[in-house]
Subunit: 487 residues, 2 copies
C-alpha cells in the first residue's frame, strides 16, 4: 500500500509538471534522453508508456485496412474528378476548398474553418513551342509558374544549348543576344537539378537571351513536360521561360554540339494577375485535456499545379491529413492534445498559405504547438517518418516509430527538411516529421500531366492514413510534450 501511495504521489507531481509544460508554463527542455554521443537513453517509464500504445496503434491499423479501407482513395478520386487541378489564384481551387470544408464537416470533424492567405494569380494562356529549323517538330512544353508570355504571334529565334550555367557563362554575350537558350542539365537529383528551373530565365536574360527553355526536372520521361515555379530577379529583364521534355532538351543539345543551326518558334500567352485571397482549410479533433494549449499539426497542401490533377502533389498528403482525423473520430479515439489538420493553400508558388499561417499564429500561440507533420513527397507505401527536432524529441520519436511494426513502417531518419509549409516552424526549433515512403518514382509524375489518380494506390493510402493517425495520436496523447529548443 505505501508503495502504491508513493507511486501515486510521484505520478501526481509528474502530472502537474507535465500540465505546466503543456500549458507552456515550464519550458520542456529535457537533456537526459541521450548520452553525449547522441545515443538514446529514455527513462524506462517513458519507454513503457510509449509501448503501452501498441494495442491502440494495432487497432488503428486494423480499422484503416478493414472497414475504412479504400475510403481515402475514393474521397481523393471524387475530389480530383470533380474539380481537377487546383492552381492558386483560380476559382476552381476556391470551389474545391468550399467542397472540402463541407466534406470535413460531414465527417464530423471539429472547428472546421478556413483562414485567409493571399496567393499569386498566374494564368497559363495558349502555349506552343516548335522547332522550325532544320526540320519541324512540335516541342511539348509548359510555361513555368510566374513566367511572362511572349508577344502575340510569338518569337522565332536561333538556339543556344548548354548543359550548365557555367557553360552559358563562357559564351560571349553577343552570341547569346536575341537567342533562345535551351538548358539541358543532366539529372543530378531534384535538389541539385531544380536550380535550372528556378533560375534559367534570369541566367539567360543576363546574357541577352529572349527566352529560356529548360529540360524538365525529372529523371525519367515519356515525352512529358513538367512545370514548376521559377523566379525573376529585380533589375534583370523578365523573359518567357518554359520547360520542354528531357528527350527534346537532349536532342537539341546534341544538335547544337554538332553545329546544327536551329530555330524555335515560341508562343506563350501566360500572364501574372494581381494577388487574390485563398484559404488554408483547417479541421480538428480537439484534445480531452489540453484542448486549447497543445496542438499537433498534420498537414499537406491542397493547391496544385494546373496540369494533371494534383492527386499526388499534394492531394494524397492533404487527404491523409484530413482522413487521419476522420479515422480517429470514427474510432472514438480522442487524445489529450488537439490534432489539427491543415490543408495549405498556395504552396506551389512558395508556401503562401504556410507563411501566412505562421504570421498569424507564431507570435501569440508559439507554445501551443507541440509537433508538426507534413506529407508532400508522395503517399506511396509508407516506410516510416523523417524527423527534425532536438535529440530528446528524436529519441522519443524513434520509440514511437517502433510501434509502427504492423505497418512495416518503422524507419527513422534525421533530416533538416520535413516539408516547406511547416519549415516556418521547424526552422525555429519546433519538432516535425514528414512521411517516409517508397517514392522512388515521385519525380516521374511531379508537376506533369501524369499527376493523377493512376499514381495513387488505395491500400498504400490506407497505410499512410494509419501511420499518420497513429503517430499523431500517440504524440498528442503522451504524458509529456515533445521537447524542443526554440530559436
Amino acid at each position: 500500500m505505501w508503495l502504491n501511495k508513493i507511486c501515486y504521489s510521484f505520478l501526481l507531481i509528474f502530472s502537474i509538471i507535465t500540465n505546466c509544460v503543456n500549458s507552456g508554463i515550464i519550458d520542456n527542455r529535457i537533456d537526459s534522453f541521450a548520452d553525449a554521443k547522441g545515443n538514446c537513453n529514455i527513462p524506462s517509464s517513458l519507454v513503457e508508456e510509449i509501448k503501452g500504445y501498441q494495442p491502440i496503434v494495432n487497432k488503428i491499423v486494423k480499422r484503416a485496412l478493414s472497414s475504412f479501407a479504400g475510403k481515402t482513395w475514393e474521397s481523393l478520386a471524387e475530389l480530383v474528378d470533380t474539380f481537377g487541378a487546383r492552381l492558386a489564384g483560380s476559382e476552381i481551387l476556391e470551389k474545391a476548398i468550399d467542397y472540402v470544408i463541407v466534406k470535413m464537416k460531414e465527417d464530423e470533424l471539429e472547428n472546421v474553418h478556413t483562414e485567409n492567405a493571399s496567393v499569386p494569380h498566374w494564368v497559363r494562356g495558349y502555349e506552343n513551342a516548335e522547332l522550325v529549323a532544320p526540320f519541324k517538330k512540335n516541342l511539348p512544353m509548359l510555361g513555368l509558374g510566374s513566367t511572362i508570355g511572349t508577344p502575340r504571334g510569338g518569337i522565332i529565334a536561333d538556339v543556344i544549348a548548354v548543359e550548365s550555367f557555367e557553360e552559358l557563362e563562357k559564351i560571349p554575350n553577343e552570341n547569346v543576344k536575341g537567342k533562345i537558350v535551351v538548358f539541358a542539365p543532366k539529372w543530378n537529383g531534384y535538389g541539385q537539378t531544380v536550380q535550372y528551373r528556378s533560375s534559367a530565365s534570369v541566367a539567360a536574360a543576363k546574357k541577352g537571351a529572349v527566352a529560356a527553355l529548360v529540360r524538365s526536372i525529372t529523371p525519367f520521361s515519356i515525352g512529358s513536360p513538367h512545370t514548376g515555379n521559377q523566379h525573376y530577379e529585380d533589375g534583370v529583364e523578365k523573359i518567357p521561360v518554359a520547360c520542354i521534355t528531357v528527350e527534346d532538351a537532349e536532342m537539341i543539345l546534341r544538335k547544337y554540339r554538332r553545329g546544327d543551326n536551329m530555330k524555335i518558334h515560341l508562343e506563350m500567352a501566360d500572364r501574372n494577375l494581381p494577388m487574390v485571397t485563398s484559404r488554408n482549410s483547417i479541421a480538428e479533433l480537439t484534445g480531452t485535456t489540453f484542448k486549447n494549449t497543445s496542438v499537433v499539426v498534420v498537414s499537406g497542401h491542397f493547391d496544385s499545379w494546373d496540369v494533371g490533377v494534383g492527386a499526388m502533389d499534394d492531394g494524397g498528403g492533404a487527404l491523409i491529413s484530413w482522413k487521419a482525423l476522420t479515422l480517429l473520430k470514427q474510432m472514438g479515439l480522442r487524445p489529450r492534445r488537439t490534432i489539427r489538420a491543415i490543408l495549405w493553400t498556395g504552396e506551389e508558388e512558395g508556401s503562401y498559405g504556410g507563411q501566412k499561417y505562421k504570421k498569424d499564429h507564431l507570435a501569440n500561440e508559439k507554445k501551443e504547438f507541440n509537433f508538426f507533420f507534413e506529407s508532400d513527397i508522395g503517399t506511396f507505401e509508407p516506410q516510416g517518418l523523417d524527423f527534425t527536432g532536438n535529440t530528446d524529441a528524436g529519441c522519443i520519436f524513434k520509440e514511437i516509430l517502433n510501434l509502427m511494426g504492423p505497418l512495416n513502417a518503422t524507419e527513422f531518419q534525421n533530416t533538416s527538411d520535413v516539408g516547406l509549409d511547416i519549415s516556418w516552424w521547424t526552422d525555429k526549433g519546433f519538432p516535425g516529421a514528414s512521411l517516409r515512403n517508397k517514392h522512388e518514382n515521385y519525380f516521374w509524375f511531379h508537376h506533369s500531366a501524369g499527376d493523377t489518380m493512376a499514381v495513387e494506390d488505395p491500400t498504400n493510402l490506407d497505410k499512410c492514413v494509419a501511420l499518420w493517425a497513429s503517430a499523431a495520436y500517440v504524440i498528442a496523447d503522451l504524458s509529456i510534450s515533445m521537447p524542443k529548443d526554440l530559436y
Copy 2:
C-alpha cells in the same frame, strides 16, 4: 586413304545437292531433323558444321562491342536528330530515305537502291481536346492515323464512357446519338487492347456518335497520348477519332459512372490526302556463291509515326539491319548467300512497303528467298530470336542460336508472328525470325512523344547488331538452305 576418298565423294554429292537446292532446282524439304514428337535430331555433321561457326560469331561479337561500339547509336541519333519523325507521305521521310541511301553507300554496301511503294498521305492538323464541363481540363490527345477532322471550330458534345464494345452495344442508340464516346478499356496486353484503337470510330459511329476518344494503348503512362492506325468501314459514317491519356480515360469513366454530366470540345484539322510514292531502302552484302539465287533478308521499317522521332519504332530495327551489313563488310566477312537489308516504308499505315515488295518479288523470285529477319519490337538487350517456319528449319535455327552464348542471347521461341512486313512471306511458309529482346516497357513509349533516343542504349544496340549479323551470316553461309514448306 580409301575412307578419305569415300568421304570426299559423299561431300561432293552433298555439295551438288546443296547447290541444286540453293539454286531452287531441288525442293529442299527435309523430314529427318525431328522425330514424331518434334524433338530435334539433326545429323551430327550439320551440328558440327554449325558449331564450326562459333569462332566467327565470337569475332563478330567482339568487333561489335569494341571498335564498332557506339556507332549504331550515333548513326541512329544523327538520323533522328536530323530528320525527326518520318511519317509516310511526308517530304521529310523521303529526305531521310535519300540520306540513308547516301550513308549506306558511304558504308560501301552493295546494290544500294530504293524500290517504290505507294503509301497513304494522312496529315495531322491542329488538334485539341478539352473537357469543358463540369470543369475545364485540357485532354492531351493525338488523332489516330487516317482519322478525318472535325468541322472548323470543333464539336462540343456530351460524353458517354464505356469500358468495352459490349458495354456500348447495350446502350440504346438514342442515348449515344450526337455524343462523343470515350472508350476506357482495361489494359489486357497489346494484342487484345489494340482493337479499341483500330475499331473505336466504327463502333461509335454505328451507334450514332459524332466522335470517339480511346484510352491510349499502353500499360503505363505519364500523361502521354499514344497514336496509331485506325480503320474506317465501308458503309459506316466516318467520324473523328483520337486517343487520350490512360489517366484521362479512367477519370472520364469514373465520372460517367458517378452520373456526372460531361461535355468535351474536340477540334481536329486532320485530313487524308491522295496516296504518294515512297520507297523501300535496300542494300546488300552479295554472296560469294549464290549471289543471285539465295537471299537472307534482314529488315526493319524506316517510317514512323509523327510524334516522338521513331527512334525505337522502328529506327532501331532499321539501323541494326543496315549496320549488321556494315559490320560484316568491315570485317571482310562475306557469306555464300546474299544478305539483303530492307528498310521498309509505310509500315505504320499497314505495311505498304512490305506488301509492295512481296508483289514485286514473290511471283518470279520465290525460290531465291532463304530466310527473313525483322526487328520491330524494340532493340533493347537481346535475348535470342523468335522463329517461324517448319520443324526442320526450327531445329537448325535452334542450333544456330546456341552460338549466341557470348551475347547471352540463345533464347528460342516458336511463334506465328515475327513481324508484319515479312508476314507476306512467312505466312506462305518462308522461315523467318524476329528479335527477342527485353522490351517489357516497349509500349510505354510506343507511338508517343516518348519514342526518342532516350529509349535506345548504345551497348544494347551493339549487341542487337552482333546478334543480327551473326545469325544472318551463319544462315547465309550454311551448306544447306533453310528448309521450308511453301503454301
